[in-house]
Amino acid sequence: MTSATVNTVAGSPLRALRRSRNLRFAGVASLAAALALSACGGDDAGSGSGDQPIVGLITKTDTNPFFVKMKEGAQQAAREQGVELQTFAGKQDGDNEAQVQAIENLISSGAKGFLITPSDSKAIVPSLDKARQAGLLVIALDTPTDPADAADATFATDNYQAGLLIGQWAKAKLAGKPAKIALLDLDPNGVSVDVQRDQGFLEGFGVDVKDKTRIGDESDPQIVGHDVTNGAEDGGRTAMENLLQKDPSINLVYTINEPAAAGAYQALKAAGRERDVTIVSVDGGCPGVDNVKNGIIGATSMQFPLKMAQLGIESIAKFANDGTKPETSEGKDFTDTGVELITDEPQSGLTSKDTAWGTQNCWG
């Protein structure tokens, strides 16, 4: 307190001192009241509104349309099953910390279980163990954990199968014409979804993939090169442009997802090659299916995020009810929620659905 407060305009120094003391008392009192109130009211989410079991959904991010739609599917299923859904997300792909915190929140709030799309399949395992020990049912969605049995169940797309289908389709479509292949991947980090789709596509096309867990170790001369897109249109465009510069005779493009494919198409269009080049992709989002219909994408493997979320919520609701845990698909350590090839140019020997069906069943 400076000497200035002694000579306040209001008059005697003593009165000023008492006023400031009153102010401080009032401040402390209101702070204490606020804390007390928040302690009472803040536990609302934890104890559950009434008797609805709590279920968590932890996605990688809440901006990627795939996870946005998954969340919507989960919310719908939660309403149907009569459970209370709490959603969490990381800030970006690979944000493991946020997911760990979400799990801790769910454990302490007494959740019955949660669905998680792990940002880091290995690093999240200790948290999952903790949750299972606390009696929660842990279900992995879209991306299996590593090891896969760290979760009680996994509802995922077989990403390798997704790549395989579009590779087989491309092989049939090109019908023996010499191929020059460009591969537009996600990023240099080698995430499982990236590797599986890429390698699945190459195997489906008939290229010797050597090590299935590594991108880029192939030596087939049909491959012009790999580049990364970050799964978005701008990355797709730049990557396509650079690969085209490397070899202008590219006639087949594999893309990690449909936004990257849209960007690649813009690059091809700018180079005047959009009619000679076939693009294949994975995802099955409604904008992507639209692109298949308009001839921008030749074929895409559709995933079913809404189905994943629904099956997941149903499993936890059942577990909350009578303690039964879900079973896995035959031969796989996860429950395959299925992949459908969507194309308007069906090839013999391959089952596929057309874009009319695709538009009915797409997400986003």
Binding site: G216, A232, D234, P259, G263
Partner: protein, 356 residues
């Protein structure tokens, strides 16, 4: 600070001074003129020489590695590829010249692109009006940054870190994470992606706009009073204020201009993608800062310029394109750029030590 040489009797006694300096030609004989120091002096006078040398060396090296690199088609392509980042980096240069930093560059650009597109499609506004409103909103976001920095006197790093999150979240909410097709938009919004043939090069209107903007700001920074004030504020804000410069106004104008530039960048982005997507540009803020730093502009303010930024943006584009053509694995591109950035900042620090 020189010490007082006057004795206790006052300074009346004339102290014999050393003979005045001989003719300036003698300067070199009496001062260390090692090559290194001369290089340091030259770089201090002309900060863009270093980056220019790097660019030239890179172009030469990559053209030796793959003869496709030096073609008109490829070089025109590289210019197109760096255009969006270059426009963002132009705004970033202004901010960094004032010893600030703008982490919300990418967020403002992407959010503005969504706003423009939404106004033109959902709100059904005619193209020019939607575009104009998009510019106004982007400029407003820059103005918000400026107000927070000048009125609340918060550090630019913190302010733009906060606004980055805010604009990014608003972006997700307004767009509902959905991409808006170019085909649904009026042609004016995607016009920046249209190509025009100039000489043997394919340029987009977006690239031309970018070059015009660079020329305009080069002129403003070099030849107008405002430009001088920007440098002065960045060099030493207190000294500038004491010299009579309204530093708060200068800072406000810089952040607002940056916002306007980000909005123009948004327009160029829509043209390049033929769509407005909320999920692009995850690294635009860091990319724009990289371009500025590689271009020789000092992060501590007061030195550098927009020409360097253009060179810096080209360096990144050339490396990305050249390394791909040379068949180098993608993961090494990031490595190379990281090394370049470290080298650029280290050289900048070394240049600062030049003795007058």
């Amino acid at each position: 600070m020189s010490s007082d040489t006057g004795g206790p009797g006052g300074g009346g006694v004339a102290v014999a001074e050393p003979a005045p300096d001989p003719a300036p030609q003698g300067f070199d004989q009496r001062h260390d003129t090692s090559l290194l120091l001369r290089v340091q002096h030259v770089l201090h006078a002309q900060p863009t020489l270093g980056p220019l040398a790097v660019l030239v060396i890179a172009v030469v090296a990559f053209s030796l590695l793959n003869e496709r690199f030096l073609s008109a088609a490829n070089l025109g392509l590289v210019l197109q590829q760096v255009t969006v980042i270059a426009v963002l980096a132009l705004g970033q240069t202004l901010v960094i010249l004032t010893a600030g930093i703008d982490l919300s560059a990418g967020a403002i650009a992407v959010f503005s692109s969504i706003l423009m597109a939404k106004l033109a499609t959902d709100a059904g506004l005619p193209g020019p009006l939607a575009l104009l409103l998009g510019f106004v909103l982007g400029t407003g976001m820059g103005l918000a940054n400026g107000l927070l920095v000048t009125l609340l006197k918060l550090p630019p790093f913190i302010v733009t870190l906060g606004t980055l999150s805010i604009f990014f979240s608003l972006n997700s909410v307004v767009s509902k994470s959905e991409t808006i097709r170019g085909s649904a938009m009026p042609g004016l919004l995607t016009w920046t992606g249209d190509v025009i043939r100039v000489g043997g090069f394919n340029l987009t209107y977006g690239s031309i706009i970018m070059l015009v903007l660079f020329a305009a700001f080069w002129y403003s920074l070099r030849w107008t009073a405002w430009g001088k004030h920007v440098y002065a504020t960045g060099d030493d804000v207190e000294a500038a204020r004491l010299a009579g410069i309204r530093t708060d106004r200068v800072l406000l104008s810089v952040y607002t201009c940056a916002g306007a530039l980000y909005a123009i960048g948004a327009w160029v982005l829509i043209g390049r993608l033929a769509s407005a997507s909320p999920n692009v540009g995850a690294e635009y803020n860091l990319d724009s800062i990289t371009a500025v730093v590689l271009g020789g502009t000092s992060l501590f303010g007061g030195r550098g310029g927009v020409v360097g930024t253009l060179i810096g943006a080209l360096i990144v584009g050339v490396f990305r394109n050249g390394l791909q053509l040379a068949g180098v694995q993608v993961v090494w591109q990031g490595f190379a750029i990281g090394l370049l950035v470290l080298a650029a900042v280290a050289i900048d620090q070394w240049i600062r030590k030049v003795k007058a």
